[in-house]
């Protein structure tokens, strides 16, 4: 496991003495590593004097935490109400087909992860897909196919 313990300790030091910091710590650690590596969870538990089970419980309770390595790019397909009635399910299925993975999975080359998200609050632009932090609005299966078959890295360089 290639986890940088030094980096982790630096993060933890900031939270020294803060009450109820577990969720904020997990958020910061995930920001740094892209997910929550198992050794990090143990070290966080030691740091907070909490049983490991409690740290693991919190890390698995909330949707935003990941225990496995994620892809470089996160594709989040909104499944909010407005998106749903305008065809979000087709959007998600098309994304699964294009990336050849199921929702929640990561491509074997660790390039893309596919997620569903409850609501992004961009309901007026439904259905929406979030690629990293970029909102793509009024999507159709066709637009998803276009979006995901071109290489996102290339597109970033051109833009």
């Amino acid at each position: 496991m290639d986890m940088n313990t030094e980096k982790l300790n630096k993060i933890l030091a900031v939270f020294q003495g803060e009450r109820g910091g577990l969720i904020s710590i997990l958020q910061r650690v995930q920001e740094e590593f892209g997910y929550l590596p198992e050794p990090a969870l143990s070290l966080i538990a030691d740091f907070l004097h909490l049983p490991q089970s409690q740290v693991f419980s919190v890390a698995t309770f909330y949707d935003n935490f990941y225990l496995t390595r994620r892809g470089d790019h996160l594709i989040s397909v909104c499944q909010g109400t407005a998106c749903h009635v305008l065809g979000a399910r087709d959007i998600l299925e098309t994304a699964e087909n294009c990336l050849e993975i199921k929702t929640g999975q990561t491509t074997p080359d660790y390039k893309y992860s596919l997620e569903r998200v409850a609501c992004l609050g961009s309901c007026a632009l439904a259905p929406v897909v979030l690629v990293d932090n970029e909102v793509h609005s009024k999507m159709t299966p066709r637009k998803v196919k276009q979006l995901l078959t071109e290489d996102i890295d290339d597109r970033k360089i051109q833009a």
Partner: protein, 642 residues
Amino acid sequence: MGKSVSIQSIEAYKIDSAESLVLLRETLLADQNKTVKLVNVCCGSGCMSSGSEQVREAFISGIKGLELEDEIKVKKTGCHGFCERGPIVVVGPENIFYQHVTKEDVPEIISETLLEDRVVKRLLYEDPVTGQKCFHENDIPFYKKQKRIVLKNCGNIDPTSIEDYIKVDGFQAFAKILSQMAPEGVIEEIKLSGLRGRGGAGFPTGIKWETARNVSSEEKYIICNGDEGDPGAFMDRSVMEGDPYSVIEGMMIAGYAIGASQGIIYVRAEYPLAVHHLSTAIARATDMGLLGHNIMGRGFDFVIKVVKGAGAFVCGEETALIASIEGKSGRPKPKPPFPAIQGLWGKPTVINNVETLANVSRIILNGHEWYSQIGTATDKGTKIFSLVGKVRNVGLVEVEMGTTLREIIFDIGGGIQGGKDFKAVQTGGPSGGCIPEELLDLPVGYESLAKAGSIIGSGGMLVMDEDTCIVNIARYFLDFARNESCGQCTPCRLGTKQMFNILQDITRGKGRPGDIEILLELSDAVKQGSLCGLGMTVPNPVLSTIRYFRKEYEEHILEGRCRALVCRALIFYRIKDYRCKACMKCLHACPVDAIVGAKWQVHEIDQSKCIKCGTCMEVCPKRFNAVECVTGKIENSGDKGE
């Protein structure tokens, strides 16, 4: 005080008394009058994703190129609520409202409107009914029937600029209570105003404050609930992004009223811009001395911090939210004890929703008499709804309580898209219900909607047309509920799952006679046997749809038909061979390569591969119109669908 302020030294200016706030405001307003023209570019999340940042940059560089920076100021503002029309740009001094502005349009707006005072007509909103062009925001039917109290600053001020907020009477209400009102007086004012919680349950805000006030404790907390989890509601997001100082001022007033010196804003992690704007606003207010120790020299201390949520819908529930701030899994606890008595870290804690808090400064400044005149006898003030779905004008609307659903959907929303028929409106998200056409004249209010089997909730309003399947909607909400159930109450954890399975079966053509009765029974069990508001309300979407649309359930179960052509197991697409011109359009567009055929060879859909996404129908040229969607089982269709 005898102190003066120059516009250059505002960065370092400290507000240490009510007088210094007044002085600053006067200085800012005097300076504002010098600016001749203003370009307001909406930089809310909606407009940003349509490219408003590029539009803003184009304005800045275009104006710089003409060396007109001193005469024309470019400002980023919060959300206008009409996100679908974004990016929105308002050009002063005439406040011309331009929609769908792209960076290519900017040179024309500069040369025509800003330099020549001429309107660029093609960028104006056109009333679809009358065909008339609308010059100003208030000419647009979408805005005409709204009453914007909470949203009054959104779209007009730069959300991160404390100066902008002070110019529109910001912190005046806070200064008023510090100098003129006792905490009890503030609570009385809020009680008399009739303000009720806007987060869903509608508990009277003043009573909540009073309860916390009456508990003696060294430590008390104000929590702003910005965990807007209802899918389809985004008003809190807009307020936090577009007018963060109003939320902060509301918290300061609440803090003074109950005797708390600490505030926490709990925001969904899915709202990064809201987190950013709130954090910026808190830092600016702290710099100016409006947050911190001995504010305005009156001996009142108050600080605020932002806590990010981690993706759990149940954390919108008060006790779960508190658990989350304490670093635990967000599982609700039994009430009592109520958080107002024993909340965060066991101390008295008031949790108010974003929209509720944004109302507070308006009430204090204008008085309870003013506020209680708005609305109806039982429901005071306004409510923001996020009007989404199949309605023509999609966006955020703030209306007086008592406005009818028909007025909201047809007058403000412009009716149904594409000339289809209205079917139902779903209010209140996963805890709410579906309201049919015959009840459209219902005035919106806490009790009136509850009587119809729905709730105001956080204010989601999903409009459905004939193409929306009612069983599919119920299935959707139960899918959401079963995913978000925290799992500690068995009826909620297993009941929602069972209900989902039954609904799933019905939408997949596997419904059985008696399913409706089992759904009703399970709904009752989940409602009765759950601890928190989530479990108690999530059967509502099922109950209300069975109540008003039982026939559609029966069609699915007994006839295998989905009249809205949504449930995939009950529909299929086919190509009418006599209309197909073998143009290959659908063949290329199909995302799963389910269409067989070639040039000169009529196309056919391989039903075993088809995911029923409708792309073929979408791309088939209108003049051919060769693809159709039908309901019923494939083998009964009498066509070569097999």
